[in-house]
C-alpha cells in the first residue's frame, strides 16, 4: 500500500491542473472508503467490541448489575472449579457437541450422497431436506419438538404401539439429551447443501477409473469421496462445532428457561444466562463467557492443527 503510494506521488505532482498537495486524492478515497464502511464499523465497535471489552473487565469483578463492580481478581474463575452446576453444564455441553456434531454431519453427508444421485424430482427433495434448517432455530419448532416428545405425544404413541412406552422424554433426565441431539441432527440442511456442492466437484473420472480397477462402493467412498471431500468436511466440522457450543434457544424453550429436568439440558450458555440475568452474577457470567471463548478458540486451533494430517486440497502434493 505505502509502496504504491510513494510511486504514485511524483507522477501526480507533475501532472498539470493538480495544484493540491500530493496524496490528497488518495486520502479522499480512503476517507470515502471508511465512510462507506462506517455503518459496519460503528456497529462493530459499539455493539461488539465495546461490550466485549467491558465483559473482559467485568469477568474479574463481582458485579450484580445494581452496584458498581468490585475487583475480585481471579475469584470468578476459581469458583467455576468448585461449582457443581457449572461442571455439570460443561459436561452436558461437551456431550452435546462431541456426540451431536458427528451424528449431524454423518446424516448431512448421507443425505447429500443420496441427493447426488441422478433421479427426477431431485430439486424438490433437496428443498424438502433443507427446510428444517430454515425453521429449526425458531421458537416454534422447539415448542413443537417438546409437544412431540411429551407424555402421550407422537413419539410416545409410536413407542406404545411397539410395546415400549417411555412416558415421554421431556420429563426424564436420561432422555432429554437424545431429544436435544435429535433436534440438532434434524437441522442438517446447511451442512448438507455444502456437502452436496462438494460432491458435485469430484471428477467422475476418478470413480470410473476406480470401477475399472474393481473398487466397490465402500472402497470408492473411503478412498475417493472422503479425501476429495475433506476440505468441505473440515469446513462443516469447524462451523458446526462452534455453532453447537452456543446452543441456547432450543434448550431455553424446551426447559422453560431452567435447564431442567434436573439440569440435564442446562447447557453452558443457558447456565451463563441464569447466572447473569436471574442470579445477578454478571461478573461470574462474564468470566464464563470468556472461558467459553477460550475453549472454542483452543478447539478450533487444534482442529486446524490436525487438519494438516487429513485434509487434502486439490493441486496439493501429498
Amino acid at each position: 500500500m505505502s509502496a504504491t503510494a510513494t510511486a504514485d506521488a511524483p507522477v501526480r505532482a507533475a501532472a498539470p491542473r493538480q495544484p493540491r498537495r500530493p496524496g490528497a486524492r488518495r486520502r479522499a478515497d480512503v476517507a470515502a472508503g471508511y465512510t462507506f464502511l462506517s455503518p459496519w464499523l460503528l456497529g462493530f465497535v459499539l455493539l461488539t467490541a465495546g461490550p466485549m471489552l467491558a465483559s473482559l473487565y467485568l469477568a474479574f469483578t463481582d458485579y450484580d448489575l445494581f452496584r458498581a463492580p468490585t475487583w475480585v481478581g481471579l475469584e470468578n474463575f476459581t469458583e467455576m472449579f468448585s461449582d457443581a452446576r457449572y461442571l455439570k453444564s460443561a459436561q452436558v455441553t461437551a456431550l452435546y457437541v462431541f456426540v451431536g456434531t458427528p451424528i449431524k454431519l454423518a446424516a448431512a453427508l448421507a443425505v447429500a450422497m443420496l441427493l447426488n444421485m441422478k433421479f427426477s424430482g431431485q430439486g424438490g427433495y433437496r428443498s424438502a431436506f433443507y427446510v428444517p434448517s430454515l425453521v429449526g432455530a425458531s421458537v416454534s419448532v422447539a415448542i413443537v419438538w417438546k409437544a412431540m416428545f411429551i407424555d402421550d405425544g407422537v413419539v410416545d404413541r409410536i413407542q406404545q404401539s411397539v410395546g415400549a412406552p417411555a412416558g415421554g422424554w421431556v420429563g426424564n433426565p436420561d432422555m432429554t439429551m437424545p431429544m436435544m441431539i435429535l433436534l440438532a441432527v434434524w437441522q442438517f440442511g446447511a451442512p448438507m447443501v455444502i456437502f452436496l456442492a462438494g460432491l458435485k466437484q469430484i471428477p467422475a473420472e476418478l470413480y470410473e477409473a476406480a470401477s475399472v480397477d474393481g473398487a466397490g462402493p465402500l472402497r470408492k467412498f473411503w478412498n475417493i469421496t472422503l479425501p476429495m471431500l475433506s476440505p468441505v468436511l473440515f469446513f462443516n466440522l469447524l462451523l458446526e462445532t462452534i455453532h453447537s457450543f452456543q446452543v441456547f434457544a432450543s434448550a431455553f424453550i424446551i426447559s422453560g428457561g431452567t435447564g431442567g429436568p434436573a439440569d440435564s439440558t442446562n447447557f453452558y450458555t443457558l447456565y451463563l444466562y441464569t447466572r447473569g440475568f436471574v442470579q445477578f452474577d454478571m461478573g461470574y457470567a462474564s468470566a464464563m463467557a470468556w472461558v467459553l471463548v477460550l475453549v472454542v478458540g483452543v478447539i478450533t486451533a487444534l482442529m486446524f492443527r490436525t487438519s494438516r494430517a487429513w485434509v487434502h486440497y486439490s493441486g496439493e502434493e501429498n
Partner: protein, 446 residues
C-alpha cells in the same frame, strides 16, 4: 477542518476504533455506577396540566391483565390529557431480566409493577424512589391499612405501594374428590392430616385413567416453607435482612414429604415437568394444590370444575396466615416526571373505576374504595375470593415476611433443588447443605 483531515490521515481506523472502544467501555462502566443515586426530589411538586408528559409503565402478566391495564391507563389519560402513558408488559419470568438490564443502565420505566421478592433488591440499591415524599400531595394513602403499607417500605423508605393482598390457600377440586370418593380435609386440619389426605386420594385414584393424585410435592415450594416456619414461631427473615431459620428446620419441613416421595404418592415430577406451564391441578389430575388465593380465577378457567378453597394446614396455634402485599407499584429513582408518576400510582391504587376493571385478578384490592367498587356477581370467582379473604381474616395473625435481598434467587434455587430431590438425585441433607451454601453467597450482599 484541520482536525478532520488529521483524523483521516495517519492510521485512522485503528486509532479511532480503539479510542471509541475505550470510551464506550468506560461509558458502560459509568452508567453501571450511576444506577443508584437515590435522588427522588419533585414527587410533591404540583402537576402542571399544561406540560406535555410521557410516562412509561411496565407490568408482568397475561393478555387478560394487559387488557385491564390498558383500560385503566386509557381512563387515566382521559383525566390527564397532557399525560401519555407508554405501556410495556411481559410474562413474570421474562420481566425481571428485562428490568435488571434497565436497572443496570439507570433506565427503569417511570412506573413499574414490583414484586415483594425483588423489592429489597431494587430498593436497597437505590433504583426506586421513596414515594413517601408524595404522600398527601400527589399520592393519597389514607385508604391503606398501616401494616399493609409498611410492607412496601424498607427502613422507612416507601419503595412500593401494594395494590392488593394475597394469602396462601389450599385449593381442592370438589368434582375430582367426588369422582374418587374422598372427603376434603376438615376444618383445622394439620400438616399430618393433609399428608394423610394426599395419600388417601392417591390410593383411591390410582385405578383411574389418568391416575388421580392428592397433590404434588408441596414441601418443595419456598413460600410454603415460610408459612410453616411462622407456625413454628420462627420469623423466616430477620429485620437485618438475614435468614432467620436453621438447616435443621428446613430438613424437618422437607421430611414431611419423605414417605410420600419414596412411595410415589405425590404427582410424579416427570409428568410435572412435561405439563409446564400447566400443572397437575390445572389438568385435574391432582385433587388439591396450595397456592396464592388470586389463582382461583385461573384454576376455574383451566379446569372448568368446582374449585374450592381452605385455609392452609394448621400448626400448633392454627394456620397463622399472613397477607402478602402483591403487585406493588414503584417509581424509578431516575424518573424525569416524579409528580406525574406519583399521580399515576395514585390513580391505579385509589380510583374506584380501576377496582371495577381489575376485580380480584391481582388479589383483593388494598384500598376499600376499590374493593367496594368491584361488581361482585353472586357465584362469581371474585365473590369466592372476597368471601375467602373475609373468612380467613381472623386466621391471618402474622405480618408478612419481608423477603431478603436475593429472595428471587434463593426461592428459585429451592425450587430447583426440590426437583432434584423428587428425581432422587439429592437427599434431604444434600438439599439443605447445597441450599444454604447458595444462600450464603446470594442473600443480602449489601
Amino acid at each position: 477542518m484541520r482536525i478532520e483531515r488529521r483524523a483521516v490521515a495517519g492510521r485512522p481506523a485503528r486509532r479511532t476504533a480503539a479510542g471509541v472502544a475505550v470510551v464506550s467501555a468506560a461509558a458502560l462502566a459509568l452508567t453501571a455506577c450511576s444506577g443508584g443515586t437515590g435522588e427522588s426530589a419533585g414527587f410533591a411538586d404540583e402537576l402542571d396540566p399544561e406540560e406535555e408528559i410521557t410516562l412509561s409503565l411496565a407490568w408482568w402478566g397475561d393478555d387478560d391483565r394487559a387488557n385491564k391495564y390498558e383500560e385503566a391507563v386509557a381512563l387515566f389519560e382521559e383525566q390527564n390529557p397532557n399525560i401519555q402513558v407508554d405501556t410495556n408488559w411481559i410474562a413474570f419470568d421474562d420481566y425481571w431480566p428485562a428490568r435488571n438490564t434497565e436497572a443496570a443502565s439507570g433506565s427503569l420505566p417511570d412506573v413499574l409493577q414490583m414484586d415483594l421478592s425483588y423489592l429489597r433488591q431494587y430498593g436497597a440499591t437505590g433504583q426506586l424512589a421513596d414515594l413517601s415524599e408524595a404522600f398527601d400531595t400527589n399520592l393519597d394513602v389514607s385508604g391503606f391499612d398501616e401494616q399493609l403499607l409498611a410492607a412496601g417500605a424498607i427502613d422507612g423508605a416507601q419503595y412500593g405501594i401494594p395494590t392488593s393482598t394475597n394469602t396462601l390457600a389450599l385449593f381442592y377440586n370438589a368434582d375430582v374428590l367426588d369422582q374418587v370418593g374422598v372427603e376434603p380435609p376438615a376444618e383445622g386440619y394439620t400438616w399430618d392430616d393433609y399428608a394423610a389426605f394426599v395419600e388417601e386420594v392417591h390410593e383411591a385414584g390410582s385405578g383411574e385413567d389418568p391416575a388421580i393424585f392428592g397433590s404434588g410435592d408441596y414441601t418443595t415450594t419456598f413460600w410454603f416453607f415460610c408459612q410453616w416456619l411462622i407456625q413454628q414461631g420462627t420469623e423466616p427473615f430477620t429485620d437485618e435482612g438475614e435468614l432467620g431459620f436453621t438447616e435443621e428446620q428446613m430438613a424437618e419441613f422437607l421430611e414431611l414429604g419423605a414417605d410420600a416421595r419414596e412411595t410415589g404418592v405425590f404427582f410424579p415430577i416427570e409428568k410435572t415437568k412435561q405439563l409446564e406451564p400447566l400443572g397437575a391441578f390445572t389438568v385435574s389430575e391432582a385433587a388439591s394444590e396450595m397456592s396464592w388465593d388470586n389463582f382461583l380465577a385461573g384454576y376455574v378457567a383451566e379446569t372448568e370444575q368446582d374449585i374450592r378453597m381452605l385455609p392452609m394446614p394448621s400448626g400448633d396455634n392454627g394456620p397463622q396466615m399472613f397477607w402478602k402485599p402483591s403487585m406493588l407499584l414503584s417509581a424509578s429513582a431516575n424518573t424525569e416526571h416524579p409528580a406525574a408518576a406519583a399521580a399515576l400510582i395514585d390513580f391505579l391504587v385509589n380510583a374506584p373505576e380501576v377496582g371495577t376493571i381489575f376485580g380480584t385478578s391481582k388479589g383483593n384490592p388494598a384500598v376499600a374504595a376499590q374493593r367496594d367498587a368491584m361488581e361482585v356477581e353472586p357465584g362469581s370467582v371474585d365473590e369466592q375470593v372476597v368471601a375467602f379473604e373475609e373468612d380467613v381474616a381472623e386466621l391471618v395473625t402474622e405480618p408478612a415476611p419481608i423477603p431478603v435481598e436475593g429472595f428471587g434467587a434463593i426461592e428459585a434455587e429451592y425450587k430447583r433443588l426440590g426437583e432434584e430431590l423428587q428425581y432422587g438425585n439429592v437427599t434431604v441433607d444434600e438439599f439443605v447443605t447445597q441450599w444454604f451454601a447458595f444462600a450464603e453467597s446470594n442473600v443480602g450482599q449489601s
